[in-house]
């Protein structure tokens, strides 16, 4: 089904916001701010839609007795509790803060911590997956930078922390990062332009 209205809206709004971006101090700039403000409101509404999506996916899982449906019960229970309680008393309420500190922070931090294991494991398997010069350079750089990050318990290797590490971080790494960032910006530019020209219509307009 064709949705010319949706496409027209996406293009028109996009162009106004884009022009407002480049023409500060004009009316377009003011309009842009207002449009972005509305978009912020819409993202807030989208969060509610997203929570409903999460809820319904797991309800469906339970209803269809899919794999892992028992766990979905935990999710639905905690989701409903934290959402309804948070809605009623606000996210600053002591119970919500307690729940956040007791569940969200420890679990997230623990997931980050097991990333330490995952990363080391990945790095030692890397050469088996991909044996080439770049992999060797990658691992050697990581190794050198880690060596220069902190002194050993028994002392510090001279030059490494004070000269070699800063040199690697400040010169070739900055160069590579800038090159990649410029490339990413180019990709971002053309991807955004495709949407502003209506060539890509991810909002459901065929």
């Amino acid at each position: 089904m064709r949705k010319p209205l949706a496409t027209a809206i996406a293009i028109a709004i996009g162009l106004i916001v884009l022009l407002g971006y480049f023409l500060p101090g004009t009316l377009l700039f003011e309009i842009r701010l207002e449009l972005v403000h509305w978009a912020v409101i819409l993202t807030g509404v989208a969060v509610l839609v997203g929570v409903f999506n999460l809820f319904s996916v797991h309800v469906e899982k339970i209803r269809n007795r899919q794999k892992g449906n028992v766990y979905s019960l935990f999710l639905i229970a905690t989701l409903l509790f934290s959402f309804l309680f948070g809605l009623a008393f606000g996210p600053d309420h002591v119970t919500i803060r307690l729940l956040f500190e007791a569940v969200v922070i420890p679990v997230e931090a623990s997931l980050m911590a097991i990333l330490a294991v995952t990363l080391i494991y990945a790095s030692i398997r890397l050469l088996r997956k991909r044996l080439d010069l770049m992999t060797v350079i990658f691992l050697a750089t990581a190794f050198l930078v880690l060596l220069g990050t902190a002194p050993f318990p028994f002392g510090e290797i001279p030059i490494l922390g004070s000269l070699i590490r800063p040199m690697i971080v400040n010169v070739p790494a900055v160069a590579g990062a800038r090159g990649i960032m410029l490339g990413v910006a180019l990709g971002t530019l053309t991807t955004g332009l495709r949407i502003l020209l209506g060539a890509d219509r991810p909002y459901g307009s065929n």
């Binding site: 949705k3 209205l5 949706a6 809206i9 996406a10 996009g14 916001v17 971006y21 972005v36 403000h37 509305w38 409101i41 819409l42 993202t43 509404v45 989208a46 969060v47 509610l48 839609v49 999506n53 999460l54 766990y71 999710l75 905690t78 989701l79 934290s82 959402f83 809605l87 996210p91 307690l98 007791a102 569940v103 922070i105 679990v107 931090a109 623990s110 911590a113 990333l115 770049m134 992999t135 350079i137 990658f138 750089t141 930078v145 990050t149 971080v169 010169v171 790494a173 160069a175 590579g176 800038r178 090159g179 960032m181 410029l182 530019l189 955004g192 332009l193 502003l196 909002y203 459901g204």
Partner: protein, 226 residues
């Protein structure tokens, strides 16, 4: 030992941390339960924040207390919001296309504007300034040092950029190959990319290691409460 909020928080944190760590050994039901609880709590929390700190102060409060002009203006996002809420129902979800198109339009414009003004121009300017020996001299950097460093960075930036070059000519066998000169420069670019990722990997590893240390320290803190 008392059932103080700190104790409850410490106890739950301790148990959940252990359960998450069990994932290292392999997936297990206890890890699953932990994850689902975590996802549920965090989603509920974020939704509550969205209501209290986005929708209420930016939409509903001004609609109630704002001036007439403000209210009229906010009618548009209100209507768009109602349409967006239709996405909840599969049968009415088509109505939500317009607000999604609105969001996509704004998002694309923000992305394009950010890429040009936030990355491309500043990075180009910074790259051009790499050989500015006079400015370096003012900061007490020796011109020769600046010249060498700047040249390496310039070579790195350009070769990395060229590495991404996509255009190629088809060669027999069905594949495509770039010009030999581009391939040569791209190889140099790959070296810079590998070094950059090596540095970033070390940074991520340091962050993960600190998280591990913090978690293990939290055990100490909890044990101290017992």
């Amino acid at each position: 030992m008392s059932l103080s909020p700190a104790f409850i928080s410490g106890f739950l944190g301790f148990i959940l941390t252990l359960l998450v760590f069990s994932y290292v050994l392999g997936d297990n039901p206890l890890f699953r339960i932990t994850i689902y609880i975590f996802v549920g709590v965090s989603a509920g929390y974020v939704a509550a924040v969205a209501w209290h700190q986005v929708l209420w102060p930016n939409l509903f409060l001004p609609l109630i207390t704002g001036s007439m002009a403000e209210r009229l203006l906010l009618l548009i996002p209100l209507i768009l919001s109602i349409l967006l809420l239709m996405k909840i129902s599969p049968s009415l979800s088509k109505l939500g296309t317009v607000p999604m198109a609105f969001l996509v339009g704004v998002g694309a414009a923000v992305a394009v504007g950010g890429a040009v003004m936030g990355t491309i121009f500043p990075q180009l300017r910074a790259s051009i300034n790499m050989l500015d020996v006079n400015a370096a001299a003012l900061q007490g950097i020796h011109p020769a040092e600046q010249l060498i460093e700047g040249s390496i960075i310039l070579v790195g930036i350009t070769s990395t950029l060229i590495y991404f070059h996509f255009g190629a000519k088809p060669v027999p066998g069905g594949s495509a190959q770039r010009h030999k000169i581009i391939e040569g420069i791209a190889l140099l670019g790959r070296v810079f990319i590998a070094i950059t990722f090596g540095v970033l990997f070390a940074g991520v590893y340091s962050a993960a290691m600190t998280a591990l240390i913090e978690r293990l320290n939290s055990f100490l803190t909890f044990f101290a409460l017992l």
